[in-house]
């Protein structure tokens, strides 16, 4: 299986960023949450489908645009950083949102 590590890293990091952004934004904006719910019937399902399609499309596009890295040394760290940051943002946001 031939894997394009640079595209995989970029698409994973940007998908995590998209999930984080759309989660917070849709809680702050009822019209956006209603719009997301209107697409599939539930806002969370739309977020999941959107994230999956976004990930696949970005991977395919970046694979055509970029040369791949020689190694994956730093790639894992970018993804780990994005996941920890995104998770913390979502958790802290919902703590604030619950008590606000």
């Amino acid at each position: 299986m031939k894997v394009h590590a640079k595209s995989l890293t970029h698409s994973t990091v940007l998908t995590i960023a998209l999930i984080t952004l759309i989660t917070v934004w849709s809680e702050m904006s009822k019209p956006l949450k209603d719009f997301l719910a209107g697409i599939t019937g539930h806002h969370w399902v739309t977020k999941g489908v959107l994230a999956f399609v976004f990930f696949i499309v970005l991977y395919l596009v970046f694979s055509k645009l970029f040369n791949d890295y020689e190694d994956i040394n730093k790639q894992g760290y970018y993804i780990i950083g994005a996941a920890i940051l995104g998770g913390l943002i979502i958790f802290i946001f919902y703590v604030w949102h619950f008590f606000a």
């Binding site: 995989l8 984080t20 539930h42 399902v45 996941a83 958790f91 919902y94």
Partner: protein, 156 residues
């Protein structure tokens, strides 16, 4: 009110966590044979995370919102939904993509995992994060079901 779908969702999530724990162990001191097994384990982990996503999602959309969420919100621990369920349902969405990234890196790096220590450490740390996030999903699931049980015991 125990629903079999929630059990299947949790079991598949735990199997995915165990699969990436297996990957971690194989790659601590990798050989060609261990890398082959790590690829198999990571593939299974990806499959289990996606199955857990679909089953958990079906339960969440069809049953949780109508049968469980209102009771937790009216109960003594509404934060079980307001903080932990909301966090869980969104942070969970990271896991299928993190697992795909780990699988892709193992295929990309291949035998370099034996020769290049830095690549091995990066993949090990990514697998560790997947395991820890998976376990945190289980912990949040426990908090949510406890919030529901306490609300039922309160007579709601």
């Amino acid at each position: 009110m125990v629903h079999p779908l929630i059990g299947a969702h949790a079991a598949l999530g735990e199997l995915a966590v165990f699969a990436f724990l297996w990957v971690f162990v194989e790659l601590l001191n990798p050989t060609e044979q261990r890398i082959k097994r790590a690829k198999l384990a990571a593939s299974l982990g990806v499959l289990f995370f996606f199955l857990s996503w679909f089953l958990g999602g079906y339960y969440y959309v069809e049953f949780y919102g109508s049968d469980v969420k209102p009771i937790i919100k009216e109960g003594p621990n509404p934060w079980a939904h307001g903080i932990f369920m909301e966090t869980k349902e969104h942070v969970f969405l990271f896991l299928p993509f993190l697992s795909l990234a780990a699988l892709g890196f193992i295929y990309k790096s291949g035998d370099n995992l034996i020769k290049k220590r830095n690549e091995k450490i990066a993949v090990l740390l990514l697998c560790s994060l997947i395991v820890l996030m998976g376990l945190s999903m289980a912990a949040m699931g426990y908090i949510i079901s406890t919030g529901f049980r306490i609300a039922l015991e309160a007579g709601l």
